[in-house]
């Protein structure tokens, strides 16, 4: 177990775009070492929420506190420095770089080598590089990409690209992990494996995970608590079971023959 991950507190967060309110005063709390699922219909505001948490969007109002820090208003890279890592719903892997280098990029915040050190190939730089490549392989093995390390990420099939993104986020040694539809585009078997990876992360690293996913099976398996959004508003919040039986949720999101 590592040092307790800090608490994530989202308080009446509002995000507006020209003529459209993507998030309307939502709030939830993620307890350390738990998996918190955010679900809701398409366009409900889940990714927007992630974009605010990771500093891609500016919040119109409201606050996001992570441990002592106020995240709203921080630039993306500062938030990353605080140990917030995420995956992207539409893949954001470099087309040319190998999987290994893509993962090494995840180590950026943990490494120090600057232009001069790298340029002169100082021993410190070499050592750092070696140490972190070691860890990268460890993580690749953990998610099951060890054989793909040398391939250009762009040529992996869709499902494995999703895994690569997950691995890259893990490489940031995050305290808070934001996963946007990690199992989209996978077969049932692969979903189970990926779910296992996520569970493994929570259990062995004890970090907080916020999960956006449309596959209720996975959500039910992994989530300790669930927040449901609809049109940017929070319509339900609680344990998976309670949420799943909430009529509003069924109406807005699951549809009659619910969890299959």
């Amino acid at each position: 177990m590592s040092t307790e991950a800090p608490v994530l507190e989202v308080r009446d967060l509002t995000v507006r775009f020209a003529g459209l309110t993507a998030l309307d005063g939502i709030g939830f709390t993620v307890r350390p070492g738990t998996v918190h699922a955010v679900i809701g219909p398409n366009g409900a505001g889940k990714s927007t929420c992630f974009n605010v948490l990771s500093g891609v969007y500016r919040a119109t109002s409201g606050s996001v506190r992570f441990g002592g820090e106020e995240l709203t208003g921080l630039p993306a890279h500062r938030i990353a420095d605080l140990g917030v890592a995420r995956t992207f719903q539409n893949l954001a892997l470099p087309p040319g770089a190998t999987v290994e280098d893509s993962l090494m990029l995840g180590r950026h915040r943990l490494t120090r080598t600057g232009f001069v050190a790298a340029g002169l190939g100082l021993p410190s730089a070499v050592r750092e590089e070696a140490r972190h490549r070691e860890r990268v392989r460890e993580i690749a093995a953990f998610v099951g990409l060890e054989d793909q390390l040398a391939r250009p990420a762009g040529t992996l099939p869709y499902g494995q690209q999703k895994l690569a993104e997950l691995a890259r986020a893990l490489c940031m040694e995050p305290k808070l992990l934001l996963l946007d539809e990690p199992v989209a585009g996978m077969t049932a078997g692969e979903r189970r494996a990926t779910a296992a990876v996520v569970a493994g992360v929570r259990d062995s690293l004890g970090i907080s995970i916020v999960l956006v996913e449309h596959d209720m099976g996975v959500v039910m398996r992994l989530a300790d608590s669930v927040t449901v959004l609809d049109f940017g508003r929070l319509i339900a919040d609680g344990t998976p079971a309670s949420v799943q039986s909430d009529p509003a949720v069924v109406r807005a999101y699951l549809g009659e023959e619910a969890t299959s």
Binding site: S54, G55, V56, P75, A76, H77, I79, A80, D81, A85, R86, F88, A92, L93, P94, P95, G96, A97, T98, D101, M104, L105, G106, R107, H108, R109, T111, T113, G114, F115, A117, A118, G119, L120, G121, A125, E128, E129, Q148, A150, R151, P152, T155, R168, M172
Partner: protein, 355 residues
């Protein structure tokens, strides 16, 4: 793959190449040495531009401006005040270093603009630098000497002065070209290795990330703005050094030289050689700066060329045709450039193992 042979072959090739390059001044005459010097200077500049455009995806058409800063910076810092010209009369080696730094500063000053703009917009915006540069070069007479430019004080390092005064080395008279050759060689090697280190290491990955997906790069903890500025400064310093070298080879700075055409040639270099790779920049630079000179020199030997005035294709024109055709052909038939960037090679070799 027969690894041991491979492992032996590469260093062998490298040493052979190095020895050859070191020996050249004893055999080539000045024209060739000068051509080589132009090429080496260009290579340094091209490496810099490739860091910026090839690896970080910031299209720059203002490279010539930073070359000018380097070249003129050196003249002003090392030259002495004569007549209308002002000069600081610093020791030339110090002047060279400061000139490079100066170019870096210039790049830093522009980087706020560079930070805001993308792609073609950035490209044309940097073009503004060229015009500003030209304007200053022509009008700041006391610094630049206006249209007739400035004499370039010869470099002197460790008591050796790189001017025309000839010293005999192994019965071969060494003029400025011969002496400068080694300086340039050293500088180029240094620059290439440095750039290689940068690209293969942490900064290089961050730069590529910025090129490939700016937002993602930020989310992964890369301070995008700072990095873009940093790269801009670095590439400007490369350009500055190239400028100093060029000035030393020309022995006189002329404003006309640092125009848009020059910038475009540098772009051509990195594209022809291969975007994002150091070797590419070097090869491209050699190609682009040597080809026209060869074509001009042997122009009258070219096929279906007729003496000027007899209506046919004049030598100069013939060489232009060939140059243009070469640029097009290389890019079309070798998309990745003369030197394909490393990852492409890895892709093909590794994909054999995969299903």
């Amino acid at each position: 793959m027969s690894d041991p042979i491979k492992r032996l072959r590469r260093p062998a090739l490298w040493t052979a190449g190095a020895v050859l390059l070191l020996a050249l001044p004893f055999y080539l005459d000045r024209f060739w040495l000068q051509a080589g010097l132009f090429a080496m200077a260009a290579a340094i500049g091209a490496i810099g531009l490739n860091l910026l455009t090839g690896s970080t995806g910031q299209l720059s058409m203002g490279h010539a401006f930073f070359l000018a800063v380097g070249a003129y910076g050196y003249c002003v810092l090392a030259g002495d005040s004569t007549g209308t010209l002002t000069g600081l009369n610093l020791p030339s080696w110090l002047a060279a270093v400061l000139a490079v730094a100066l170019a870096g500063v210039a790049g830093g000053l522009f980087s706020p603009i560079a930070g805001r703009l993308q792609g073609a917009y950035l490209g044309i915006a940097t073009l503004a630098l060229i015009f500003i540069g030209q304007h200053v070069l022509f009008n700041a007479h006391d610094l630049t000497g206006g249209f007739n430019g400035r004499d370039v004080p010869p470099l002197s390092l460790f008591g050796v002065t790189f001017d025309e005064s000839e010293l005999l080395v192994a019965a071969v008279p060494f003029g400025s070209a011969e002496k400068l050759w080694y300086v340039a060689l050293l500088a180029l090697a240094g620059c290439a290795l440095f750039a290689r280190g940068v690209l293969r290491g942490r900064p290089g990955r961050a730069m590529n990330a910025i090129r490939d997906h700016r937002i993602a790069a930020g989310v992964l903890g890369v301070p995008v703005a700072r990095y873009r500025a940093g790269v801009f400064v670095l590439s400007s310093m490369y350009a500055g050094l190239a400028g100093v070298l060029l000035a030393l080879v020309f022995q006189r700075t002329v404003p006309e030289y640092f125009g848009m055409i020059l910038s475009l040639e540098y772009l051509a270099m990195i594209v022809i050689g291969g975007l994002g790779s150091v070797a590419g920049a070097v090869v491209g630079a050699v190609f682009v700066s040597l080809l026209p000179q060869l074509l001009t020199r042997y122009s009258d030997a070219l096929p279906l060329v007729s003496a000027p005035g007899t209506g046919g294709v004049a030598p100069g024109e013939a060489s232009r045709y060939l140059y243009g055709a070469a640029v097009v052909a290389v890019v079309l038939f070798l998309p990745g450039g003369l030197v394909r960037p490393a990852f492409r090679r890895r892709k093909t070799t590794t994909s054999e193992e995969s299903p």
